[in-house]
């Protein structure tokens, strides 16, 4: 069940616990859809209500108002989460490995907490995987096209997200703290507005003029990019800032041009955070079931949507098998990008 959300939770944990409440609020759609099924449960979340207003009633006005409520609540929570300053974790001076100075008892506690948190993820995930692996051969053949669609969307949205995050980080990292906060607020909008909220908005915008289904792929890719933007910004902004802070004077005194600075200094110094953000963005996009659920016609599906449809048809074995494919692909994408960021021998 918790499958769709797994990416986001893992992200939140790696990224710092601050993102957690905001993530919780933006993710329930997937969870609730799966748990609540297609029935009209009395207790719904706002997200599910939006989805129902959309898919079942096709009441765009109601969906839009609900989206506004959701946006306001999430915005307030996101803002609170971002008011807490993020501790600097990456001040490694000369790229040496940092030695842990706390004793072994801390390691035990750390290990314990990590195990408890992991169990929360691993148990449901394990259950799905066990079941899925047994039924791997029954997986519908559409899985190939769905995988390709999901991967394409993920890669495009990762590229978009990185382009936006790097542009913002480079433009604002050296400004004052107010300007930086504004830039990050741009990112918070992504957190405040869940994919479903943005999807609703885009649907309302496009609907009078064209068939929204025709735009399903580009819209999903760009909305997913926006969702990952706050995470990417949070990772990249301090890294860019630190590089400028440490080496700007050296660069100026050496008379180093912009091109060399960008390619030979900034790019290698940012390689790790770029790889990590790309991994986050790709994994987030792979697991997303927001916009695509609104826009897709029956012929078009991503892996999460296929999984959702299979579950809706009570074909649980095939759904579990699809889940295995989804998890493997998401993890692989994240690993590949993150690994790419670490691969540089001189930056280990």
């Amino acid at each position: 069940m918790g499958l769709f959300s797994i990416d986001r939770r893992a992200d939140a944990a790696r990224y710092g616990s601050r993102g957690f409440p905001a993530c919780l609020l933006t993710m329930p759609h997937q969870l609730c859809c799966s748990i609540g099924g297609r029935g009209r449960a009395k207790g719904t979340t706002i997200e599910l209500a939006i989805y129902q207003a959309f898919r079942l009633d096709f009441d765009l006005g109601k969906a839009a108002s609900l989206a506004l409520v959701q946006f306001t609540i999430c915005g307030a929570v996101s803002l609170l989460a971002f008011l807490v300053p993020l501790p600097q974790t990456d001040g490694l001076g000369l790229d040496r490995v940092v030695q842990r100075l706390d004793g072994p008892q801390h390691r035990i506690w750390d290990g314990l907490w990590i195990s408890v948190a992991s169990a929360f993820l691993v148990l449901p995930l394990g259950a799905v995987l066990m079941r899925g692996l047994r039924h791997m051969l029954e997986v519908p053949p559409q899985i190939f096209v769905a995988s390709l669609t999901s991967l394409t969307i993920a890669i495009i949205s990762t590229a978009l997200c990185l382009a936006m995050a790097l542009t913002l980080a480079l433009a604002f990292a050296r400004r004052g703290s107010l300007a930086r906060s504004l830039a990050e607020a741009t990112g918070i909008l992504g957190l405040a507005s869940s994919p479903l909220v943005v999807g609703t908005g885009l649907f309302v915008l496009i609907f009078p003029y064209a068939q929204p289904m025709a735009f399903a792929l580009p819209i999903t890719a760009s909305v997913n990019a926006m969702m990952a933007l706050p995470f990417a910004l949070r990772v990249l902004m301090p890294a860019v800032r630190e590089t400028y802070g440490d080496y700007l004077h050296l660069r100026m005194s050496l008379g180093m041009g912009r091109w060399i600075w960008m390619t030979r200094i900034l790019a290698p110094r940012l390689r790790r955070p770029i790889g990590f953000s790309a991994g986050l963005a790709a994994a987030l996009s792979m697991g997303d079931l927001g916009v695509i659920a609104l826009f897709a016609d029956p012929d078009l599906q991503t892996l999460p949507l296929m999984l959702y449809r299979l579950m809706g048809a009570y074909r649980m074995d095939q759904a579990a098998a699809t889940a295995v494919v989804l998890v493997v692909q998401s993890l692989f994408l994240f690993w590949m990008f993150d690994r790419g960021g670490r691969g540089h021998a001189t930056l280990r």
Partner: protein, 233 residues
């Protein structure tokens, strides 16, 4: 000759004025209390700050605006070396900031490393060097650049006393042999005495004209007296 002609730098509430001359080849210590303006003076000469008034002349000619075009090299307190570049690249970048080394220039860089005793470390990374060796790598770049002015911003402050003395001595020799004019910010009167012939006292937003360092310490003016306390050398 470096001529600071009624220069004034403004940083928010703080301002620094400097009206002084430094003769070519002099080694000058910049001393004074924290917050008095030592770093501002150095950053101004480096070109990182734009003066509010006055002008800076080098051998009678106006200093270029851009720090990279000024006839000077800098040794910072830290972050002198890019951690992901080899020692050789870090040194050679002083000659070719576009990093397109010719064979001859590479040989020059290796020679500079040899001169500071780091000939075998060319392909190492800064993290593989000790603090003293990092200082030497920085000096190799200064040698390679052959700029007539050197600014030192407490470059060896993190080193132990013996190593610091050694580095100061190497720096002094290099500067002396190459006829480089050197300004060194320091907190340690002993360092100032062993390295420099003159001292500029920077206090309360004003940089005094350089004075011979021995007599200055023997008969310190009130501002220097209160800075030194009983630690006068």
């Amino acid at each position: 000759m470096l001529h600071l002609d009624r220069l004034c730098y403004q940083l928010n509430e703080f301002s620094l004025t400097a009206d002084l001359q430094i003769a070519a080849g002099d080694r000058v210590a910049v001393i004074g209390p924290s917050g008095g303006g030592k770093s501002t003076l150095l950053n101004g000469i480096a070109g990182f700050l734009v003066p509010r008034a006055g002008q800076m002349l080098w051998n009678g000619q106006s200093m270029p605006d851009h720090p990279g075009e000024r006839p000077l090299s800098i040794l910072f307190q830290d972050h002198n070396l890019f951690p992901h570049l080899t020692v050789l690249d870090n040194v050679a970048i002083g000659l070719r900031p576009d990093m397109r080394l010719s064979v001859a220039q590479k040989a020059q860089a290796v020679a500079a490393l040899d001169q500071v005793g780091l000939g075998d470390k060319a392909m190492a990374y800064p993290r593989d060097l000790s603090g003293g060796q990092q200082g030497r790598a920085g000096l190799a770049r200064v040698l390679l650049r052959q700029r007539p002015l050197l600014l030192l911003d407490e470059p060896f402050a993190a080193l132990g006393p013996a190593l610091k003395d050694e580095m100061l001595e190497i720096t002094r020799q290099i500067v002396q042999q190459a006829g480089i004019t050197a300004l060194m910010v320091t907190h340690d009167p002993q360092d100032a005495l062993s390295f420099a012939e003159y001292a500029i006292l920077v206090a309360e937003g004003q940089a005094q004209a350089p004075a011979p360092i021995g007599p200055l310490f023997d008969h310190p003016p009130p501002a220097l007296q209160s800075y030194l306390g009983r630690r006068a050398p």
